[in-house]
Amino acid sequence: MIAYLNGKIFYVDTLALTMVCLISFIGLIVKSYSKRYMQADPKLKQFQSMLALLLATVIVLVTANQLLVFLLAFGSANLILIKLIGHEQRWQAARNSAKLAMKTLGLGYISLGCAFYLLYYHTGLTSIQSILQALRLENKSEVLVLLLLLVTAMTQCALWPFHKWLLSSLNSPTPVSAIMHAGLVNGGGFLLARFAPIYIIKPKMLVMIFIIGLISAILGSAWKLIQNDIKRMLACSTLSQMGFMFVQYGLGLFPFAIAHLCGHGLFKSFLFLNSNSAAQKKRSLINKPKFITFILAILCGIISCYCYLYASQQRFYYHDSLFIMIVIVFITACQFALTALSQLAKKLWFFVACASCFVGYYYGVSARLYEAWFKQLQIINRPINAIHLLGLLILAIAWLLMVFREKLIGKEPRRFLLWLYVKLLNASQSHSTTVTTHRNQYLSN
């Protein structure tokens, strides 16, 4: 019976298994957290059962192998999420947040429905796995399927230009934000991973995903850096992380993208649940880097990168999409060494180099583990093209600008920078109807 179900209605592979583990782990924690956190709430019982229901639907969703089951689970999971966002019914702004989420996610849902209809129409099959094997993508309407699925993934991951609902969803209780940023937002990533085999056939589609991801990664990072409240900062950060996940998909690095999704899910739900301590967590002052430290840091970055390559047993080719990941690892290692070096006495550079080696090695080992774990989602090494390199250049420049920003800006910021700040600040505000502009409107029906 189970074997029958597993083949026909459900399909449990490592991807599904990983997602089930992730979502149940976070679900368990959020459920137990909210039991104490929301003890004063009269609707606690209802909230808890909604949470349980949400978990169940997401588990069905990630294991579904039938288009209809997938569609139903996807819809009901999002509906429950919307209900949870508007948990505080007496609060107009929370109701508006739910409405906004409903609109955007609804659009994604319609797009998913159309995609599934087209899949069925072209292949006559209802099982996702058989469709993936049967689909040839020969005519345009079949390619349209990919676009429609991409739109769904974008709305679900709240990528630009569909990001507003996520930035406006902070009227929901903290545990809901935790499970939303760790679980539901990842739905888009899961969708792409599930249909990865057909995306791989169309390299142009992957380039498009790369560009879409890059825009969100850059915008989200910039917005995150100027936010003045903890929760919206976390939301902007989610946007950038989801963007980066798309970048990884675009490069054909599917196992990395799924690993990123899991890591981010755990990390972000922790930060949300811990967000009430934001006021006590002070920002430490970091010494400004000198030029010589910067050079040393780059050396450390190179060593660290070497360790990473050694541990992950990846090959280093300039024309391979893995190259981009390696450069990003290099940048991170440089930043790591840069901070450590500018804090420590020069004599201790050796320890910093060792620490960078260790970090590189650690990350390399974990990269190898991801690869081994997601064997079915093999890395599809794509040749690098000009767009990839341009994207990489933008990312690297963005990092350099951040590192040397104080030197570049100087005492008097230019008009252009003032304009940019206001522009970014305005663009990253929550939707106007979801702001509680007058305190007495909070809980006043």
Binding site: I29, Y33, R36, Q39, A40, D41, P42, E88, A93, S168, L170, N171, A222, L225, N228, D229, K231, H260, L266, L273, N274, S275, N276, S277, A278, A279, Q280, K282, R283, S284, I286, I328, T332, Q335, F336, T339, A340, Q343, Y363, S366, A396, W399, L401, M402, L418, Y421, V422, N426, Q429, S430, T434, V435, T436, T437, H438, R439, N440, Y442, L443, S444
Partner: protein, 760 residues
């Protein structure tokens, strides 16, 4: 009429004003009158309770409630004001951020108005691509007062309405206004930011924004006058109802108690304890007295020494004294993280790791790899914090123990150099006034423990309001330590000797810290003398007694076994999901100024501030005067904060914790973005959405002293006349000569209380 001509015509109005100078004086006085209505609210870092209707304390309470209803509780706001508020909130958040954003608002060091003036020209939400408005924004008046003077006349409001109009601009965004009031008066940490004029800056920005988005804003006045007719304000009657159920009974019990124990010869005590007047000390004192031959006293938790603490552990610097005072001495002192005392090496490692983590997290590109590396660890941390809240704490202790010597206690630091900054004469003054106030001038026990208090909570934005209010929202450990050192100083003792206070050589003063969340008392002294061992043993029993009481209060368990309760209380304290780690000062109802024997043996349920005072030793009333004008004022602020947060949690409180969002590391917003939510959260005063925990009643001050002395003091102090005469605080007196109870009426006459349930 287009904008340009409108500006011209208003300039004409400006010129028709009698003279610009006169207009300036008029407007500026209106501005300061408007600001008087706004209370002050402290940031989360050193949160102390204040009266949200502080600006109306000069009025009788009924009238103040009505004014509060008009200005703060109105639920309807004209539609255009919403957009204006949204823009104001956006810029306030950006300017007052204390370390949330990595890239701050540019030009902040010029001051609020100046920075905004430079940026506003680019704000599309303001100019909406209209060229004329753009030009207007490009040449805004150079200073805030010029801007106010220029724009106030553009709304065509009559002169007598100007104050009300300016007040309304502030009270439609009361939270941010009250934080701004704080930063203009009390924020001494950020001298780089020009904050002295920030009140004017804010009003100027409000005025200009209002003018641009809603030129017909004079209609705001219409709404105000309409509200005046249908004012749904709080009624004193409801408060009186709850008072009727509590005050007469309390007075009756005390009167009875005063009659019963006229003068009792005390046995020699093992130790004497001095606690803060905080209501939470009451239960602790009760438990300690039940445990052995101990005597307890109550005194303001900063122990009379106004110090500024420079915390060498995390390079923080704060004033550890009531906000009414200015600190006089700087003390270097290492307290450390409230929950995890650390040694040097661990501290270095943590700060290093923290720096690297932050530099990777608040950056471009690098967070992408960071989350992949740290994801699994974040998961494990969540698991631990959620299911075994005490485990991370214990692990940290073990690691700290392995790396270097683990600092066992927060108050265990070296005494050398503690008193460097305080002259001997000042030391003597502090020692003498402390001992005389609580009337501890003879019969010293071998050990006298000075107990400051602090709380220990995790993941709690409101942590500091659970700390000592008399220490400005910090723990009282440093102050206790300083006073203990003073009283142990041989030179000080010699001086006191001359004044007739003989402290025996055997007597030692020890600093202690009362943890109000876990009921634990840490002693600063590490030696293992017999007396201290005994003390520590008794403290274990005390902790169990109080923990059992606390568990009953929280309904954690029905029949607490002795070993279990301490664990439960500790768990609650370290639980990151806990919104009510302790009840704090909720329930506070009265302030008793009397010797301990008046209240001894009574279970006052942690509801009462207890200040030790002996009227016989205070013939000229100076001591009572200082108690009434300092600690009692703080108690009244606390009482009003809890009272109003319980009565209207939207207008005067900060709403439910479950949707809180910490803004700029200074305050709380609700959800996406909202007004700065000043006041206490729902969970601090309510059990659940409907059931209130803090019974809303006014503070009842009860003094065990002759009426004549009290009347004299009130006569000298207009501030006290305001509080008692306007009904903010009720005053009762137990006349020592005949042990009758008298209540002070609003017209300052005393009426004998015959246990008739009267209203006022």
């Amino acid at each position: 009429m287009d904008l340009q001509s409108q500006i011209k015509s208003s300039a004409v109005i400006c010129e028709t004003q009698p003279s610009t100078n006169e207009a300036e004086v008029f407007v500026m006085s209106a501005v300061s009158k408007a600001w008087q209505k706004i209370p002050t609210f402290w940031p989360l870092e050193n949160l102390i309770a204040t009266n949200p209707l502080h600006g109306f304390e000069h009025l009788p309470i009924e009238q103040a409630l009505a004014e509060g209803g008009l200005y703060f509780q109105h639920t309807e706001l004209p539609q255009p004001m919403h957009e204006i508020n949204r823009e104001s909130i956006k810029w306030c958040q950006a300017f007052f951020d204390q370390g949330q954003a990595t890239i701050n608002m540019p030009l902040r060091k010029l001051g609020f108005y100046q920075a905004w003036r430079h940026l506003a020209a680019f704000d599309k939400n303001l100019h909406k691509n209209r060229q004329d408005v753009r030009n207007l924004l490009k040449d805004l008046p150079y200073s805030a007062d010029q801007a106010i003077l220029k724009y106030i006349f553009k709304f065509s409001i009559s002169a007598e309405q100007v104050t009300v109009f300016l007040s309304l601009l502030l009270t439609t965004l009361p939270g941010w206004a009250s934080y701004i009031k704080y930063s203009s008066i009390h924020d001494t940490n950020n001298l780089s930011v020009q904050l002295l004029r920030v009140e004017l800056d804010f009003l100027a920005i409000r005025l200009i924004t209002t003018y641009l988005l809603w030129p017909q804003a004079s209609q705001l006045l219409k709404a105000y006058h309409k509200n005046k007719i249908h004012n749904r304000c709080l009624k004193l009657g409801e408060i009186k109802q709850t008072e009727k159920l509590y005050h007469p009974d309390l007075l009756k019990v005390l009167e009875h108690q005063a009659r019963k124990i006229k003068c009792k010869q005390q046995k020699l005590n093992l130790a004497q304890w001095v606690f803060c007047i905080d209501v939470r000390s009451e239960g602790m004192r009760r438990a300690i007295e039940a445990c052995g031959n101990y005597e307890t006293f109550g005194f303001a938790g900063f122990f009379g020494v106004p110090i500024k603490v420079i915390d060498t552990h995390n390079d923080k610097c704060y004033s550890s004294c009531p906000v009414l005072l200015k600190p006089k001495h700087s003390i270097s002192y290492s307290i450390g993280d409230s929950n995890y005392p650390q040694g040097k090496l661990l501290k270095w490692l943590i700060s290093m790791a923290n720096r690297i983590y932050q530099s990777l997290k608040y950056n471009m590109i690098t967070p992408f790899v960071l989350v992949e590396v740290l994801g699994i660890w974040a998961g494990l941390t969540m698991l631990m914090r959620n299911f075994t809240p005490l485990l991370p704490h214990r692990l940290k202790k073990i690691i700290a123990g392995c790396l270097d010597e683990y600092v066992k206690s927060r108050i265990l630091t070296e005494e050398i150099g503690l008193l460097n900054g305080i002259a001997l004469s000042e030391q003597c003054f502090y020692a003498e006034s402390f001992l005389k106030t609580i009337n501890l001038v003879d019969k010293f026990a071998p050990l006298v423990i000075l107990c400051g208090h602090g709380s220990s909570t995790v993941n709690n934005a409101y942590g500091s309001i659970l700390d000592c209010g008399a220490c400005g929202g910090h723990t009282g450990a440093a102050n206790a330590k300083v006073l203990a050192a003073i009283l142990n100083n041989i030179q000080v003792r010699q001086q006191l000797n001359k004044k007739g206070i003989v402290i025996p050589d055997k007597t030692r003063f020890i600093a202690g810290l009362h943890n109000t969340t876990t009921d634990q008392i840490e002693l600063s002294n590490a030696d293992n003398s017999l007396a201290i061992e005994q003390l520590k043993k008794d403290l274990k029993i005390v902790q169990q007694l109080s923990a059992a009481e606390r568990c009953r209060q929280f309904n954690d368990i029905k029949y607490p076994s002795n070993s279990n309760v301490v664990h439960l209380v500790n768990r609650r304290s370290f639980d990151w999901a806990q919104t009510v780690p302790e009840w704090g000062l909720a329930g506070n109802a009265a302030f008793i100024i009397a010797p301990r024997h008046l209240t001894q043996g009574l279970n006052l349920q942690n509801r009462i501030f207890l200040h030790s005072y002996c009227w016989e030793k205070d013939s000229n009333g100076l001591i009572l005067e200082s108690i009434l004008t300092a600690p009692m004022i703080i108690a009244q602020w606390i009482n009003c904060q809890y009272l109003f947060s319980a009565l209207d949690n939207c207008a005067y409180g900060s709403g439910s914790k479950i949707t809180h969002n910490v803004v700029g590391k200074i305050g709380i917003m609700q959800g996406n973005s909202s007004d700065f939510m000043h006041g206490l959260p729902l969970q601090s005063v309510f059990i659940n959405n409907k059931q209130v925990y803090h019974q809303p009643l006014r503070l009842l001050t009860i003094i065990y002293a002759p009426r004549s002395v009290i009347s004299k003091i009130i006569y000298c102090h207009p501030a006290l006349q305001n509080l008692f005469g306007n009904g903010w605080v009720k005053l009762a007196c137990i006349e020592p000569s005949n042990t009758h109870c008298y209540e002070l009426q609003r017209d300052f006459t005393w009426i004998k209380n015959n246990h008739i349930k009267r209203a006022d």
